[in-house]
Symmetry: C2
Subunit: 300 residues, 2 copies
């Protein structure tokens, strides 16, 4: 099976490195420069003290024809629009696309695509792009994937062959899979970023925990959660398990980069709007983060 990977950020490089052990991978980069660097050096995966080099073919995105059997789209949600335009302009529609964005705001765009099989996934790995061709895998996790439209068995076949130290679990219900991740992200990411604290502080500090529960209650009401207590327990467990971690949004804010706040909170705010529900806390938290992003940051 041939696999294309769109985007050579931390997630793109991580997937290319692992998946190229099982499949023939081509990675598509934004710049020609990054493509040549990957072709020259391979992709270097750094995991604790271990370094692995994978020889992966790289091309600039302009060369993508969509002829691979499966294409993973690994760019962030706020970079998705130009990729979707490219997909729509390909001479032949690729059959199998797997979208690995955070959030759920992009689902409405995926509905418009003409491709046969559209899959979505959530990534629980910690990865840091060190340079154009090197990625650190510093948090082991799993990938969950599910059909948004189309062929469940294709995903099963694909995931069955990936290396066992890079598991991909196939789920049936894409909506609850994305929703679970969204709720966790919507609570932990913005609050840790506003407060400049590690994940664990949200449950260790009694006052921050009260903010966490108020925000969660608002989200739960907007999303009409059936079992809010289970979702809250999941949020708290993840705060505990990753107590010493800085969330990806906090890292983005500290590095003065764009965040994924539109992907993560945008969908919930749209839902509130559609249902004519008030979302005072979410709106405030959203504006706190937007105001911290670099100026002219908003892509959406």
């Amino acid at each position: 099976m041939k696999v294309g990977i769109i985007g050579a950020g931390s997630i793109g490089l991580l997937f290319a490195s692992y998946i190229s052990r099982s499949y023939e991978v081509t990675i598509y980069t934004r710049t020609e420069n990054q493509a040549s660097q990957i072709n020259e050096n391979g992709i270097i995966l750094q995991k604790k003290a271990e370094r692995t080099v994978s020889l992966v073919k790289a091309l600039p995105i302009s060369k993508w024809k969509g002829t691979e059997d499966l294409t993973l789209i690994t760019v962030k949600q706020y970079q998705l629009t130009p990729v979707l335009e490219i997909i729509n302009q390909l001479p032949e529609d690729p059959d199998n696309l797997l979208f690995l964005q955070n959030g759920m705001g992009h689902l409405k765009w995926l509905k418009e695509l003409k491709n046969k099989n559209i899959f979505v996934g959530t990534v629980e790995h910690g990865a840091l792009k060190e340079n154009a061709f090197t990625v650190s895998h510093n948090g082991e996790g799993a990938t969950n994937v599910a059909p948004f439209r189309g062929d469940f068995s294709f995903l099963q076949n694909f995931s069955a062959a990936v290396p066992s130290d890079f598991p991909i679990h196939v789920q049936e219900d894409y909506y609850s899979m994305l929703m679970n991740k969204l709720i966790v992200n919507a609570v932990i990411n913005p609050l840790t970023s506003i407060l400049h604290v590690k994940n664990g502080e949200l449950i260790q500090n009694e006052y921050f925990f009260r903010v966490l529960t108020s925000l969660f209650d608002e989200i739960s009401f907007i999303l009409n959660l059936d079992h809010p207590e289970e979702h809250l327990r999941q949020v708290m467990e993840i705060c505990k398990k990753t107590a010493e971690n800085r969330s990806s949004m906090l890292k983005d804010i500290e590095a003065n980069r764009l965040t994924e706040v539109d992907a993560i909170l945008g969908f919930i705010l749209e839902e509130a709007n559609k249902q004519e529900k008030q979302a005072p806390l979410l709106e405030n938290v959203y504006h706190f983060i937007k105001g911290k992003e670099p100026v002219k940051g908003g892509v959406l």
Copy 2:
């Protein structure tokens, strides 16, 4: 006229320094050590390049008899309870007390006092305590005072004689005087502290400004403001005029000190509670700040 000053923090030292030019001042300190340092060195007032030494008598608070013609109480609101106990235990009730705390939560305590004339005031000076007997006057402003109960003319006589570079304006309506200050403090102090920004950023950053207006609207609704647009304009003007300043609460948070959040937001949250109004933003902002205060910080 003899004037007593309770508390030798930045505001106590500042008032002692200026007022001792017109009146015979005794300053009462928390510790014996600070009293001896002031008796030895005088109070040094640093204003830009100029240093002025005022010889002021200092005594530890345990020696206060309440025999001065007027006593200024300059401790923070969260330090007020023990001072009120001392006042109630004096053998003779002092006639004239002037309370210079931020917030309005302490008014309910002042009602209980038996003293004849009770005055309240707001201080708009920037002052920093450099050591036990030195204060920097780094922001020139004014003091507003008004009778909470009793004799207006006494205040007028007192304020008429203070040095002209340290003006004290006598107001008739203590409630609107304190309320004006409270609203400004309730918006600017907590937001600058959460966001770690100077006052000006709250109106320069479009997202932060949206948070500011949402919070203001909530406060305005709780306090049943007659002319909210005037109060909002005042908040914005102060952000503009003090654009390069860090608010006192931000400085407290940065120095890991207790803040005045209970004095400032506590009263408004109590009002919300009494009127059974929702205050989701205020509550969140309150918890953000409380969680940032040093542990075991809460005195109230």
